[in-house]
Symmetry: C2
Subunit: 430 residues, 2 copies
């Protein structure tokens, strides 16, 4: 189902055989999706048949998710937003870099089109130095964050661990007895946070028997079809997942870990993950817009991939993380939690996973750690979503995108070196 | 279907036979709807089976509509909210009035419980003199406005008429050729705005053959069941409505008029009704929260009943209307449009309708006009939703409620005289 595709890696280059429209050709506003009263037949999109999430229509849908499925609000509160100061740098557009898969240079501006960027903002020392919107996105709209959601959930987990509300050495079943007989029962909170649980769970969409299909069906908010005998909702689906190996040995990027983390956060704090996120973050740092998160049939937020927010609000969140949890002089999140995120995870466990394209990387608290010299780390979601934090360059980049290929291996070659080139540029500025 | 019930009058006292929980007994937070991870079986609510909208569960759902159905956002923009000044008056709670159906007095405070109030705010000369929240509602949450939506749609219609974008004397088919063969084809824009169209359309929920059932099924955002042969979406449903009588003679309160008005507004302005509402109102008067509106399967906002907003934001809207379209010194909406609303409609046409309980009232631009000495007029929605404007007392009352009986005839006897008593009190204050 389409919902699962929002959070997991599709095989890279799955659509490589057929010619794919360019970013300019697939501009969702010019294509006229869902425009008119009523929209033209061939421009109508629906949730139920998955048409809303097929490229290129998906380029419109990622900015209109609440119009397709039920969502729970993540409130910004009612106070005035904290403006982000500006120091725009027009030279960024022409910064040249060498893509890791090419023999010639590309400019920053070219890379935005290349990667089907819907919106991008760069903060340097807390000031906006670059900001662009494309297609259906605008400053006052929200975009699907896909698996960047996992890093938000993981951040809440790290915060509760730092505060002692969650014990990272305890087993999941100690908090959630319902998971005792599942793969997660004897996994520790830490193993869930770092995704080193050993699960019999395939997210290979090319395999019709992959467990992700059942998982997505369970989480789909539409009423179950007649004769449906599977689990209903994320909580029920998680209980069916079987162990496959030994916990703690290898990183395995599996969405259910994030939903277990969301469940742990809810049980330990007494608040649904969206409400805790509002209370601890969204209401605290002068956000401009409420965020929202898709829910299953029982109202459970999709902690593995359902989050939607404004571009600049995601930048505020990134800046909060870059500053060890401080915002305008106030310690909003415990510094110890953010330091744990920024330190990175086990490179050995990561090396045992199926990510040869990311050598030297690691995964900690549901954040990805690059192997670059600046210790940059990132939240990452399919189709090009990212919050990229470079602590040394004091830089935060947030990108929303709608790349035709889900897997980030399709856009990393023209993204990661671009981010590093911008970091170098910003560090050299007077 | 439950969705239709949000906008139309149910037979008064339909649930009168069985004992009904009091407001205190049915407090949705204490009842624990959808609380817990996962919620208890008997506290789970679903959209598809209608359980989310049955009393008393409905008392929780009216504050959580987006968690059950897709919605389109009505943006407040990104600027700081305009604070509403306060001059709280604790004496309001003990104001006594005589309900029209009782022999003894009741206090204002008692009437709030009597009417299953979820939130109420009173503005006097633009200042908040009274503000209360109950149950699931809070200042930073949103509540279903039910048919108050119609008055928002009607206001946009009146604005476009005043500006000349819509000609009130033209026929609907001049703007929407698709409606030429329907009841609306030869109705004028004015007749739609005042609901004096003659439609073969029953909103009697006690009658399984009433046209409202087909209408609600068409607007339901869930995929249509197998074998469904009816219209899909509001636009299609409106085309099937047949004429029944002569237009312009009698007021007939029928929801499809509001959806035709929404369609007219969209066609004439080129913008969906939610987007125009954001552009003309929600972004202009310092709202605290985005509002949202439920949509059909094709993304069409339910202009007859799908709107949800914050209590104080509805008060801002009411205050905008009371001030002939001015907000903080700026003319936001044309005064002529608001004067047309405030003047009221044809009492003769209203007297020919089935509202003997509202003698001397009229209906204009989708607003209800009382027959009281102050020329008070109101937006009204089932289960007790209202924006009540008393121009002489310079008073605006907004109430969100979840009365077990849908029809306002169940709460008017303990509401309308209460509003008049508060108006007298405020006019007598120093």
């Amino acid at each position: 189902m389409a919902l699962g595709m929002m959070c997991a890696s599709m095989p890279s280059g799955a659509q490589a055989e057929k010619p794919v429209l360019s970013a300019q050709e697939s501009d969702p506003v010019r294509m006229g999706w869902m425009q008119g009263f009523p929209p033209l037949k061939d421009r109508q999109l629906r949730f139920a048949d998955g048409s809303f999430f097929e490229f290129p229509a998906m380029r419109w849908s990622v900015v209109h998710m609440s119009e397709f499925m039920p969502v729970v609000s993540v409130s910004r509160g009612l106070r005035a937003p904290d403006p982000l100061p500006y120091r725009l740098d027009p030279r960024i557009d022409v910064i040249a870099f060498r893509p890791t898969n090419a023999d010639t240079d590309m400019t920053w501006e070219e890379s935005l089109w290349q990667n089907y960027t819907d919106g991008i903002v760069i903060l340097h020392q807390g000031r906006i130095v670059h900001e662009r919107y494309f297609g259906a996105l605008a400053a006052d709209r929200r975009h699907a964050a896909m698996s960047v959601t996992k890093s938000l959930t993981g951040t809440l987990g790290a915060v509760l661990v730092a505060e002692g509300t969650l014990d990272e050495n305890k087993r999941v079943a100690d908090y959630i007895p319902e998971l005792a007989d599942s793969a997660f029962g004897d996994a520790t909170v830490r193993q869930v946070l770092d995704m080193t649980t050993a699960l019999q769970f395939s997210e290979d969409y090319a395999d019709p028997k992959a467990e992700i299909w059942q998982y997505s069906a369970a989480g789909n908010p539409l009423p179950k079809p007649k004769g449906y005998a599977g689990p209903v909702g994320y909580h029920a689906a998680l209980q069916t997942i079987k162990k496959g190996g030994v916990h703690g040995e290898a990183f395995g990027y599996k969405t259910p870990n994030a939903d277990v983390m969301g469940w742990l956060v809810a049980r330990a704090s007494g608040k649904p993950v969206g409400e805790l996120l509002a209370e601890r973050v969204w209401r605290r740092i002068g956000m401009e817009q409420d965020a929202y998160c898709s829910v299953d049939e029982l109202g459970t937020p999709f902690a593995g991939g359902g989050f939607n927010a404004g571009l600049r609000d995601m930048a505020r969140f990134g800046e909060l993380i870059r500053n060890q949890g401080r915002w305008r002089g106030e310690q909003i999140l415990p510094a110890r939690a953010i330091e744990d995120i920024a330190r990175g995870g086990s490179k050995a466990a990561f090396a045992r996973s199926d990510h040869p394209e990311l050598p030297g990387w690691s995964y900690r608290d549901m954040w990805w750690h690059t192997a670059n010299a600046h210790g940059a780390f990132a939240a990452r979601g399919v189709h090009g979503q990212t919050i990229y934090i470079d602590p040394v360059a004091e830089m935060v980049i947030v990108r929303f995108a709608s790349h035709p290929v889900a897997a980030n291996s399709a856009n990393d070659p023209t993204s990661l070196p671009a981010y590093e080139a911008v970091a170098r540029h910003l560090m050299g500025r007077k």
